[in-house]
């Protein structure tokens, strides 16, 4: 049982970062990015390239992949999201789905990335290193995943709450016109927000790389589970998104462990539909007083 929960929290960390990225892009641009999971895959592949070509450690690859993710996010915003913005919400949704195709099939065309998943080297020691705590066997890599998730969340918190630019981004997300009037460059805060979200996706893909491997066609499933997490926790709440992602990971592993691999996914997706129906604002979302 505890074993499954730890495994769930580990994969859930990845979902949590995807959900948080979806939240950040939604807040800044009112777009739900269906390609977020693909960026996780591509981010992990960036790290792989750093390790294989530049022969750096996974630690440096993590930084490199995040920076590359940030730049890729800026490009994504400038080339796809911004021009597609004129086509309305449906058009944007479809544009991000088009992006899924480009990334999913495009990465397989790049030499060295291929279509088969490959492992990243462990952060410390060997990927199979474990220790036992109160009868529960925990992978050392899982610990690194938790620690690095906390680092990312702390960094995000400090950035959003304590820095001038973070506040500008939040202001621009809350009220674009008002922000523009007080001199915030809304176009650039949006671009940076998307950059940060994609950097988080790349970060998530890398920290899980030693455990879940990088590359392959996992992106769609990661996107969907990230959404489920975001919806369960509340799309409008950053803490809710992270918690939701972790919950989805745990539920998924418990179902796989207790029932069978095949039934886990339909049950998780049914949860999504139920959550959408009965808790549209999520577990952590606030229900605003709506004036109609």
């Amino acid at each position: 049982m505890m074993q499954l929960i730890v495994a769930g929290l580990t994969v859930g960390s990845g979902y949590a970062l995807v959900a948080l990225g979806i939240h950040i892009i939604l807040r800044a641009t009112r777009i739900v990015n269906f390609a977020q999971g693909e960026f996780t895959v591509v981010g992990g592949l960036f790290a792989l390239t750093f390790v294989q070509v530049l022969h750096v450690s996974t630690w440096f690859a993590l930084i490199g992949a995040s920076v590359c993710g940030f730049v890729l996010g800026l490009v994504f915003e400038r080339l796809i999201l911004r021009p597609a913005g004129r086509s309305g919400e449906t058009g944007l949704t479809i544009a991000t789905i088009g992006t899924v195709f480009i990334l999913l099939y495009g990465h397989a065309l790049i030499p060295g990335w291929g279509s088969l998943p490959q492992p990243l080297p462990a952060f410390t020691g060997d990927a199979s290193d474990v220790f036992t705590l109160g009868g529960v066997t925990i992978g050392v890599q899982s610990l690194w995943v938790f620690a690095l998730l906390l680092v990312a969340l702390a960094a995000m918190y400090v950035f959003a709450e304590r820095t001038y630019y973070g506040k500008a981004i939040r202001a621009a997300a809350n009220n674009p016109l008002g922000a523009r009037l007080i001199g915030i460059d809304v176009a650039s805060t949006r671009a940076v927000s998307v950059g940060i979200a994609i950097a988080l996706a790349a970060y998530g893909g890398t920290i899980l790389g030693p455990i879940t491997l990088v590359g392959g066609a996992a992106g769609v499933a990661i996107s969907i589970k990230g959404f489920v997490g975001a919806i369960v926790g509340g799309l409008e709440s950053p803490i809710g998104c992270v918690a939701g992602g972790l919950i989805v990971g745990v539920v998924e592993k418990l179902l796989e462990g207790r029932l069978s691999y095949g039934v886990a996914d339909p049950i998780v997706y049914s949860l999504l539909l139920l959550a959408l129906l009965f808790f549209p604002q999520g577990l952590f979302g606030r229900r605003a007083a709506v004036r109609d």
Binding site: T90, I94, G98, L276
Partner: protein
């Protein structure tokens, strides 16, 4: 008929001709015939999604789920239970339609990306069930599905091409019928503005559900034909990628009508076969293409084929019609047209309406005035069934109408205009006003689908009525202009015309004079008087005091949600509390 659909109807024979020519070429090549058959199967599903996405503005990333229902129904019933193809296909289509109804019902709760996710979840759940259901063969699915038979002919290989395209073109024709009738107009109003659609009497919830069921049924039909053609159904073939393919087809071709769906499906169906050796590159190209179309040609490829005319051509049928009408419209029964008792509305901590009561007399023009934020528009919403009341009851024409949905109140004979003129922007003035007659028209889904003569007659009658209303209000010169291109003053008048077209006996008019120039105010004045003289009971929100004081039989004053004065213009004008509310007391 909507201009877009007129172009669609013209394109359809050309597309049919291409299908025939291609079919003749394909006689020699099994590969071509196969590509063409797949294109037809996709097209059937794409037509349904095009209607859903383009005409009702409801996205679905779960259409493959319905496709799977149709495919598995045929596979199971024919290969396992030994049924012939046709009853199996009928069962599949019916099942898909029923599940579509259910999904449509769920979808009412969502808009935009939430809807995208909910439908995606549906598709994932469907494929998960196909995977796990042992009678359906689990992951290996059902094989050895027999070919469909039609009058002794086995529908495989080359004959299947003609069969599939026959069905696809028939589906296109029926869908076009549907869109050109009253049902299509209801869809169009929903796509443009749901609240305004309710106010002209469109049961928006019902029509959205119908659209989901129809799109589901078509996807189920496509799946049924697919199963019999391919001979095998596996869960992975009806998963999310297929749903996304359908979406790609509709977006590439252009949604909202049938020709875009046919073009998109043909393109993808063909590229799927032709681009087989370019795996990965092909999908990347789809992605780039779709992003490019969203950015560069949001109307899809079909929008590049037709130039949208700035002002659509005149409808020749309408040129010689009687314009004068003698009419007298009165509220039914003996009761007052409107009786509001103790209506209270609270938004969180704000008391927007506080125990408001009044009775309107028939055939009178009553004005409702008050400072900004007094609750005037909230009162209109309360009467029209927008949002839930905190307390109180509303009687309309002798009926207890509290809690009724807006369309039902509209259907009683209540018209309304909005403060910011909510027209259906992507419809012409004539189409807007025709939509206004919705509640007085009769019609059914089946009659629209089959394009029965009765439907055509009803359509013509609705157009004539709209035309007469336009003539009455002097709006004929702009009849074929898109509402979104109108200047503000004209928008207000068109909105009034839309409300009047249904001949309401109670009309609620929200700030009609705001933003109008002197001349336009004069015309408005006349229009309102004419309506009152024809017997309509009017309730008017207005800030223009000269208009209010000269027009009104009675004036009611609302302040912070409370009625502070009620009487003839002269009495209200001299009421000290009213003067204080408007000029301030200085304290």
């Amino acid at each position: 008929m909507i201009a877009r659909l007129r172009a669609d109807a013209r394109l359809l024979p050309f597309l049919a001709a291409i299908v025939v020519v291609f079919g003749l070429f394909a006689a020699k090549s099994a590969t071509l015939a196969q590509a063409g058959t797949y294109a037809a199967i996709y097209a059937i599903a794409a037509i349904g999604l095009s209607l859903l996405l383009g005409n009702v503005r409801q996205i679905s990333i779960g259409q493959a789920g319905f496709f799977g229902i149709g495919a598995y129904a045929v596979a199971y019933c024919t290969a396992v239970a030994g049924w012939p193809f046709w009853p199996a296909a009928a069962l599949g289509v019916a099942l898909a339609a029923v599940v579509g109804l259910a999904l449509g019902f769920v979808a009412l709760r969502f808009t935009g990306h939430y809807l995208a996710m909910a439908t995606l979840a549906f598709g994932l759940i469907a494929v998960g069930i196909f995977h796990e259901a042992q009678p359906l063969g689990g992951a290996v699915g059902i094989s050895n599905v027999p070919y469909a038979q039609l009058g002794g002919l086995t529908l495989s290989g080359y004959p299947a091409y003609w069969f599939a395209w026959g069905v696809a073109l028939l589906a296109a024709l029926l869908t076009l019928n549907l869109l050109r009738g009253r049902t299509g107009r209801a869809f169009e109003t929903i796509r443009n503005d749901e609240l305004a659609a309710e106010m002209v009497g469109v049961q928006t919830r019902r029509y959205k559900i119908v659209a989901f069921a129809y799109a589901g049924a078509l996807a189920g039909l496509a799946g049924a034909i697919y199963a019999a053609y391919l001979g095998i159904v596996v869960p992975d073939a009806v998963g999310v990628p297929l749903s996304i393919d359908f979406l790609l087809m509709v977006v590439l071709g252009g949604s909202g009508g049938v020709s875009g769906a046919l073009i998109g499906a043909a393109l993808i169906g063909f590229l799927d076969i032709a681009g087989h050796q370019f795996e990965n590159w092909r999908e990347v190209a789809y992605g780039v293409l779709v992003v490019g179309v969203v950015i560069g040609a949001p109307g899809g490829l079909v929008s590049l084929l037709r130039r949208a005319p700035k002002s659509p051509p005149r409808d020749a049928r309408l040129s010689a019609l009687a314009v004068s009408r003698d009419r007298r419209i009165e509220a039914p029964g003996d009761g007052p047209p409107l009786d509001v008792r103790g209506v209270t509305k609270r938004f969180g901590g704000l008391l927007a309406l506080d125990d408001v009561s009044f009775v309107l007399e028939r055939g009178r023009l009553t004005s409702l005035i008050g400072p900004n934020g007094a609750g005037k528009t909230t009162l209109f919403n309360a009467i029209c069934g927008v949002g839930r009341l905190t307390g109180g009851v509303v009687w309309i024409g002798g009926r207890q109408a509290t809690g009724w949905p807006s369309h039902r109140i509209a259907a009683l004979g209540v018209g309304r205009t909005f403060q910011n003129a909510r027209l259906f922007g992507e419809m012409t003035v004539l189409e807007n006003v025709t939509a206004g007659t919705f509640r007085t028209e009769r019609g059914s889904f089946a009659a629209d689908l089959l394009g029965l003569p009765a439907t055509r007659r009803a359509e013509r009658a609705a157009l004539e009525r709209a035309r007469a209303t336009l003539a009455e209000l002097g709006l004929e010169p702009i009849a074929h202009t898109y509402a979104k291109d109108l200047p503000f003053g004209d928008r207000r008048r068109v909105e009034l015309a839309r409300a009047v077209a249904a001949e309401p006996w109670l009309l609620l008019v929200d700030e009609p004079a705001a933003g109008l120039n002197g001349h336009e105010r004069g015309t408005l004045h006349e229009d309102l008087l004419r309506l009152r003289d024809a017997g309509t009971t009017l309730l008017l929100i207005e800030h223009d005091m000269r208009l209010v004081m000269t027009l009104s039989d009675r004036v009611m004053v609302l302040k912070f949600g409370r009625m502070i004065a009620d009487g003839t213009p002269a009495v209200v004008r001299s009421n000290p509390e009213v003067i204080a509310a408007y000029l301030g007391t200085g304290s």
